[in-house]
C-alpha cells in the first residue's frame, strides 16, 4: 500500500503538470483507452487549473487577512468603503466570462460524445437485475462481458428490462443511463487492446455493486476470430461440455442471486435444487406446492415425464409464474436472452452441480483430456443419461 501511496503522489505531481503516467492515468483520471478520453481529460485539467488559481487566491486571502488584520483592540473604528461598485461589477463579469468559455467547451465535447458516427459497430445491451447481456450483430450473445474491436466506433444500443441502470466505462469516459421502455445509446472508439471495467452507475437495488462487466478490446483480426467463435461457442460444444460452459459463462449472471454452495441469497440456492424439484418440495406463494402440481393435469411437472426439466426451464423463461415461498417476485425473464441450448446447458449444470463447482462455489474446470478442440463439431450425438423427458422444444 505504501508503494501505491508513492505512486499516487507521483501521479498527482505529474498529472497537475499535464504529464501523464503509463496509459494516460493521472492522480485524477484513470487510464485512457478511448479516442475521446484525452479530450475529456484535457478539459478536466483545464477546469482544474482555473480552480487551482481561484482556490489559491481565496485561500491566501482568507488566511492572509486573518493574520494581517487579526484583532488588536476591542473596538475597531474602520472608515474604509462599504462598497465599491466598479470592483464588484468586475468580479461579477470576470467569472461570467470564464464560465462562458467553460460552458462552450463542455458543450462541444458533449455534442461530440452524443453524436454517433455512421457505420458504428452496433452492440445491443440489456440491463436487468443484476446482470448485463450484450448481443452482437452476428448473433453472439455475451453475459457480463463483451468483446469489442479496436480503432472502430462502437455503439451500444441499450435498454433495461426492469429498473434504471447505467453503463459506465471509466477508461472510455462514457456513461449513459439505461431506462426501461426506451432505447438509449452510447458510443466510443477504443484505442488500446486490453481488459476494462464496465459498471452499473445508477442505483438498482441489492445487487447494484455486483452488476459489473468486463470489456475486452481486441485488434480487428483477433476480434473477428473471437466474435466468430463466440457466435458458435455453445452450438459447437459437445453435450457433455455444455454443463461446464454453463457453469463458466452463464452462471456468473445467476450468481448475484443464486448460490451454488447452499448459502442464502435473493433467490433459492442451486444446491440441491434438482433433488428438491424431483421430490416436489417447492412451496409457492399462490399456495400450491410442486408435489400437488406434479400430480395434476397431463404430467407437465411429473418428474417421470421430464417434469423437472419443465419446471426449471419454465422458471428461467417465465420466472413470475411460480414464485417460491419466502422469496420476492424479483427474477427477470431470460426469454430472448438465452438460447434454448443455453437453457439446456443451465439445466444440465443444475442437475450435476458437484461436477462443475467446488464445494466453496468456485468453478471447477473441465478435465484436460475431455476438453474439446475449438470448433469441434459432430460430437453432439452423445446424449447424456437421465435426459429421458427431453428438453421441451419451444
Amino acid at each position: 500500500m505504501i508503494t501505491l501511496v508513492a505512486d499516487i503522489i507521483q501521479a498527482e505531481a505529474l498529472g497537475t503538470l499535464g504529464a501523464t503516467l503509463a496509459g494516460g492515468a493521472t492522480y485524477w483520471m484513470p487510464e485512457q483507452a478511448s479516442e475521446v478520453a484525452p479530450k475529456i481529460d484535457w478539459l478536466f485539467e483545464f477546469i482544474n487549473v482555473i480552480c487551482y488559481i481561484f482556490f489559491g487566491a481565496i485561500l491566501i486571502l482568507t488566511v492572509g487577512f486573518s493574520i494581517a488584520y487579526r484583532r488588536r483592540k476591542r473596538v475597531h473604528q474602520d472608515k474604509s468603503a462599504t462598497h465599491h461598485t466598479a470592483l464588484e461589477v468586475t468580479w461579477t463579469i470576470v467569472p461570467l466570462l470564464i464560465v462562458i468559455v467553460m460552458f462552450y467547451m463542455g458543450m462541444t465535447g458533449y455534442m461530440y460524445l452524443d453524436t454517433v458516427p455512421e457505420n458504428a459497430y452496433e452492440v445491443r445491451v440489456n440491463g436487468q437485475v443484476w446482470s448485463w447481456t450484450f448481443q452482437h450483430p452476428n448473433g453472439a450473445v455475451e453475459g457480463n462481458q463483451v468483446t469489442l474491436p479496436m480503432d472502430r466506433p462502437v455503439q451500444f444500443i441499450m435498454t433495461s428490462s426492469d429498473v434504471l441502470h447505467a453503463v459506465f466505462i471509466p477508461a472510455f469516459r462514457v456513461k449513459n443511463d439505461v431506462v426501461p421502455g426506451r432505447y438509449r445509446t452510447l458510443w466510443f472508439t477504443a484505442t488500446k487492446p486490453g481488459e476494462y471495467q464496465l459498471m452499473c452507475a445508477e442505483y438498482c437495488g441489492k445487487g447494484h455493486s455486483d452488476m459489473l462487466a468486463r470489456v475486452f478490446v481486441l485488434p480487428e483480426e483477433e476480434f473477428q476470430i473471437e466474435i466468430a467463435r463466440l457466435a458458435q461457442e455453445y452450438m459447437d460444444l459437445p453435450t457433455e461440455a455444455l454443463g461446464y460452459y454453463a457453469a463458466d459463462k452463464l452462471y456468473p449472471r445467476c450468481a448475484s442471486c443464486h448460490t451454488v454452495n447452499g448459502d442464502p441469497g435473493t433467490g433459492p440456492s442451486f444446491k440441491g435444487l434438482w433433488e428438491r424439484t424431483q421430490a416436489g418440495e417447492q412451496k409457492f406463494t399462490n399456495g400450491a406446492t410442486l408435489s400437488q402440481l406434479q400430480k395434476q393435469g397431463d404430467g407437465f411437472y411429473d418428474p417421470a415425464m421430464g417434469g423437472v426439466q419443465n419446471y426449471l426451464r419454465e422458471s428461467i423463461l417465465y420466472p413470475q409464474k411460480l414464485i417460491n415461498e419466502g422469496y420476492g417476485p424479483v427474477m427477470p425473464s431470460f426469454k430472448g436472452q438465452l438460447k434454448e441450448r443455453q437453457v439446456d446447458a443451465l439445466i444440465m449444470m443444475i442437475r450435476e452441480l458437484e461436477t462443475y463447482f467446488e464445494p466453496d462455489g468456485s468453478f471447477k474446470p473441465q478435465p484436460e483430456n475431455t476438453t474439446p478442440a475449438e470448433g469441434a463439431a459432430g460430437t453432439e450425438e452423445a446424449t447424456t443419461p437421465k435426459q429421458d423427458g427431453g428438453s421441451p422444444e419451444a
Binding site: K39, L59, D78, E88, L164, F168, K175, G181, Y203, S209
Partner: protein, 581 residues
C-alpha cells in the same frame, strides 16, 4: 426538554431574573405547546441535532462498511442500502433543510427584525409538530417497518414503485416526506409574512441584516418548490399502492418524468440549505471582524438571484438520464449562471475581511472554514456543470464529494458556526473558547480528509451507492482512498462529539453570557441574554445594522455596550448617523 434553571441570586441584569424566555413559564407542556418563536426554535434545534446524531451514526456505518472491498459491516448488501438511504434521507429532510431556517431562523428572525414574534405563532407551532410527525415516520422506517427503505433518498422510479424490488418502507417514508414538506411550507409562509408585515418603523428592506435577506429568499423557495415535492411523492405513493402507471413504462408512463418532478423541488432544496447558510456567514464575517459588510446590495440581490436561478437548473441532475441534447445544453448554461452570484458572495466576504479586526474565536473560525470549504465545493461544481466532463463524473464519488462539500461542509458548518454565534443569546451561557477551537480543528481536518479523497475516488471511476467494490480493475486504488476517507470520517465524528460535549457542559457550568459578547450590532444583541419573553417591549427603531462604531467595550459585563454619547435604538429619536443604508 427541560427548562434551564437560572439561580435568581445572581442575575446579570435586573430584568433577567424576572423575564427571560427560558424561565417565563415552567414545565414540559409550557414548551411543547408554546407559541414563543424562541422556544420553538430551541425545540427544532434539539430535534434537528438528535436527528443529526442518528444520521451521523448511519454515515459512520456506511464509511466503516467501505473499509474493505468486500464490505466490513454488513453481510447483506440490502442492509448497506438501507444505511446509506437513511443517512441521506434523514440528513436532507430532517436535518439540513430545517436546520438553519426552522431552528436558527425561528429563534433569530423576529428578534433581528425587531418583532415580538413571527406572524402566525400557532402555525409555527403546528409546523414544528408536523416536523415531529414526519420524524416519527422516518423512525418507523428506521426500525424496518415493511422491510425499511432502500431506494436512496431520491426514491427513483421504477425501482421505488416496483413490488419485490424496493422494500415497502418507501410508502412510509414518502408519507413522512409529504408531511415534512408541509412543515417546511408553513415555516416559509410564516417568514415571508413576518418580514413583509412585522418590520418595525425604520427597518427598511435595505436595513435588514443579510441573514434576513437570505431567510426571505429561502422562504420563497420553500413556498414555491415544496408543493411540487408534495404532489410528486403523492404520485409515487399512488403509483406504488394502486399501480397508477404514471412512471411505469409498461403502462405508458415515463420513469424520467419522475426525475423531472423530483428535481424540480430537490434542486431548489439545495438552495434552501445553502442560502440561509450564506446569510449566517455574512453576519459572522461582519460581526467578528467588526467591519461593515462589503457590498450589502450585491450580497442581498445575489441571494434573490440564486433563489430565482435555482428554479431553472434542475435538469443538471439528469444529464445522463435521457433528456434531449438541446435540453442538456440549456440546463448546463443556466447552471453556470448560478455560479456567478455565489462567487460574488465569496469575494464580498473577502473584501469584508480586508482591514477588519478579525477575532479568531469559534464562530469566526467556522465562518472562515466555510469560505475555504465552500470554495472547493463551488469550484468542483464547475467540473460537473461542464457537460463533457460531467458525463464521466456523473453518479460517481466525485458528485458525492461535491455535494458533501456544499451541503455538509458549507450548510452544516455554517449552521454550527451560527449556533456558536447565537449560543450565548439562546442559553445565556458562554462555552469554552479553547475547546471550541479544538472542536473546529477536528471537524475541519476530518471533513477535508473524508471528502477531498472522494473527489479523486470518483474521478477514478468509483460509482456511488456501491456496497462492495471487490473484483474491479482498480479495486486496490479504491481501497486506499476508501480507507483514508473512513479515517477522516472518524476524526470528523470525534470533532462533533467534542463540540457536543463542551456545548452541553456550557449549559450547566458555562460562564454567564453578556448581552453582547461579540460586539454585534443587529437587534438581537440589544436585548438581554437570554432574551425576554416578548423580545421588545416596544417595537424598536433601527439604524444601519453593520455600523460598529456605536459600540464600546464594557469591562464589567465582559461584553459590548452602546457608547454613552450615542442614543440607542428603541428610542424613536434615532441618531443621525444611522440614516444611510
Amino acid at each position: 426538554m427541560t427548562t434551564i434553571p437560572v439561580p435568581p441570586s445572581q442575575p446579570v441584569t435586573p430584568e433577567l431574573a424576572r423575564d427571560n424566555y427560558l424561565t417565563y413559564t415552567r414545565g414540559i407542556w409550557s414548551w411543547l405547546f408554546t407559541l414563543d418563536h424562541k422556544r420553538i426554535g430551541v425545540m427544532y434545534l434539539c430535534g434537528v441535532l438528535s436527528m443529526f446524531f442518528v444520521g451521523g451514526i448511519f454515515a459512520l456505518l456506511v464509511r466503516t462498511q467501505l473499509l474493505t472491498p468486500e464490505g466490513a459491516v454488513f453481510n447483506d448488501n440490502a442492509n448497506y442500502n438501507r444505511a446509506f438511504t437513511l443517512h441521506g434521507a434523514i440528513m436532507v429532510f430532517l436535518v439540513i433543510i430545517p436546520s438553519v431556517p426552522a431552528a436558527l431562523g425561528n429563534f433569530v428572525l423576529p428578534i433581528m427584525l425587531g418583532a415580538k414574534d413571527v406572524a402566525f405563532p400557532r402555525l409555527n407551532l403546528f409546523s414544528f409538530w408536523l416536523w415531529m410527525a414526519g420524524a416519527v415516520f422516518f423512525i418507523l422506517v428506521l426500525v424496518n417497518v415493511d422491510g425499511g427503505l432502500d431506494t436512496g433518498w431520491t426514491f427513483y422510479t421504477p425501482y421505488s414503485t416496483t413490488d419485490g424490488m424496493a422494500f415497502g418502507g418507501v410508502l412510509w417514508a414518502v408519507i413522512g416526506v409529504f408531511i415534512l414538506g408541509f412543515s417546511s411550507i408553513f415555516t416559509g409562509m410564516n417568514f415571508i409574512v413576518t418580514i413583509h408585515r412585522l418590520r418595525p418603523p425604520g427597518m427598511t428592506w435595505f436595513r435588514m441584516p443579510l441573514f434576513l435577506w437570505a431567510l426571505y429568499a429561502t422562504a420563497l423557495i420553500q413556498v414555491l418548490a415544496t408543493p411540487v415535492l408534495g404532489i410528486t411523492v403523492a404520485l409515487l405513493f399512488m403509483e406504488r399502492l394502486f399501480g397508477m402507471g404514471f412512471f411505469n413504462p409498461a403502462l405508458g408512463g415515463d420513469p424520467v418524468l419522475y426525475q423531472h418532478f423530483f428535481w424540480f423541488y430537490s434542486h431548489p432544496a439545495v438552495y434552501i440549505m445553502i442560502l440561509p447558510a450564506m446569510g449566517i456567514i455574512s453576519e459572522l464575517i461582519s460581526v467578528h471582524s467588526h467591519k461593515h459588510i462589503f457590498g450589502y446590495r450585491f450580497i442581498a440581490f445575489s441571494s434573490i438571484a440564486i433563489a430565482v436561478f435555482g428554479f431553472l437548473v434542475w435538469g443538471h441532475h439528469m444529464f445522463t438520464s435521457g433528456q434531449s441534447q438541446l435540453i442538456n445544453v440549456i440546463f448546463s448554461a443556466i447552471t453556470f449562471s448560478v455560479s456567478i452570484p455565489s462567487a460574488i458572495k465569496v469575494f464580498n466576504w473577502l473584501a469584508t475581511l480586508y482591514r477588519g479586526s478579525i477575532s479568531l474565536n469559534t464562530p469566526m473560525l467556522y465562518a472562515l472554514g466555510f469560505i475555504v470549504i465552500f470554495a472547493i465545493g463551488g469550484l468542483t461544481g464547475l467540473h460537473l456543470g461542464t457537460l463533457a466532463t460531467d458525463i464521466h463524473l456523473h453518479d460517481t464519488y466525485f458528485v458525492v464529494a461535491h455535494f458533501h462539500y456544499v451541503m455538509m461542509g458549507s450548510a452544516l458548518i455554517a449552521m454550527i458556526g451560527g449556533m456558536h454565534h447565537w449560543w450565548p443569546k439562546m442559553t445565556g451561557r458562554m462555552y469554552n473558547e479553547n475547546w471550541g477551537r479544538f472542536g473546529f480543528a477536528l471537524v475541519f481536518i476530518g471533513f477535508n480528509v473524508t471528502f477531498f479523497t472522494q473527489f479523486a475516488l470518483g474521478s477514478q471511476g468509483m460509482p456511488r451507492r456501491y456496497a462492495t467494490y471487490n473484483g474491479m480493475v482498480l479495486t486496490d486504488l479504491y481501497h486506499l482512498y476508501h480507507v483514508i476517507s473512513t479515517i477522516g470520517s472518524y476524526i470528523l465524528a470525534l470533532g462533533f462529539f467534542v463540540t457536543a460535549g463542551y456545548l452541553l457542559h456550557s449549559i450547566f457550568a458555562g460562564k454567564r453570557a453578556p448581552d453582547n459578547p461579540w460586539g454585534g450590532r443587529s437587534l438581537e444583541w440589544q436585548c438581554t441574554s437570554p432574551p425576554p419573553h416578548d423580545n421588545f417591549k416596544e417595537a424598536p427603531t433601527v439604524g444601519d445594522c453593520y455600523d460598529y462604531s456605536v459600540l464600546e467595550w464594557d469591562e464589567s459585563q465582559q461584553g459590548y455596550k452602546w457608547r454613552e454619547d450615542i442614543e440607542r435604538p428603541g428610542n424613536p429619536h434615532v441618531s443621525g448617523k444611522d440614516g444611510h443604508a
